[in-house]
Amino acid sequence: MRLPSQSARRTPLKFNITPLIDVVFLLIIFFLVASHFVRSEQSRPVELPVAVDGKPDEDTAAHRITVTLDRGGDLYVGGEQISESDLILRIQQLQAAARTEGVEPEVRLRSDRLSTFGPFRRIYEACAAQQIHRIQFAVSGEQP
């Protein structure tokens, strides 16, 4: 009697990549949407001042704080409204943390184009007082 060989019984293996593509795309979309919400939560939307020669954001600073100044002169850090005294405290903490690790801290200033210079000045004065030398003014390359 001839026994059927195993290879004869085996059905040809088919690898269906369609569900795999589905899952990969779902993961990509998930991370895109998640990062979008995280960003928009951290930075309050303001109309940035227009500058033609702004440099692209190449994030290198390990210790950085982004301060948003809206048209009414209110200050926001990480989407949360804070007072000037709290901001000074945050800048002190930033400087202390950066000094511990031996890196240069950075303060990024996102200001509404129609806000007045007074609060803007007080922010960089606080940075200067804390020996923070690296400041970046956020600007927009697009005309309003």
């Binding site: 269906n16 369609t18 569900p19 593509i21 589905d22 795309f25 779902l26 990509i28 979309i29 895109l32 949407v33 979008h36 960003r39 928009s40 940035l48 001042p49 227009v50 500058a51 033609v52 020669d53 702004g54 440099k55 692209p56 954001d57 100044l69 990024r108 996102r110 200001s111 509404d112 184009r113 129609l114 806000s115 007045t116 210079f117 007074g118 803007f120 000045r121 960089y124 004065e125 940075c127 200067a128 923070i132 030398h133 690296r134 400041i135 970046q136 003014f137 956020a138 600007v139 927009s140 390359g141 697009e142």
Partner: protein, 150 residues
Amino acid sequence: MKIPRHRYGRDSLDGESMTPMIDVVFLLLIFFVVASIGQTPDQLLPASIGPGNTETDLPRDITSTELPVQEVLVRMSRQLSGELTVTLNDRPVTTTELRQSLKTLAELDPRTKVILDPADEVLVQQFITIYEYCQNLSFESISLAVHEKH
């Protein structure tokens, strides 16, 4: 003789394979929609406020010949009408004259120290416009005035 029609073989293929393909097509559609929603990234104007880049002892005689490097003080204020008024070393100038003077100074000596002192009521956009212009002229030192607290 009856020739089998190809339709029988296709029925299962049509029913089973179309759904994942539609899935993928919809996912691609959603992907491009979501990707296009993304925010426009901020651009940055770097500023250094090192010890030499903030001025606290204003006003002073900035035309003094004792200074090894020439200093230029640009004060900005804003009228009630919203118009920007500028003085260059305490001499009132229009923004066009300011640009011309700064350009000439940058060509003569890029080491010239430019000190920007906007008043509190000046708009950030007005300051950024002049600051950016100074940066483009490649001045080695652009300082921001710091007002001492009394």
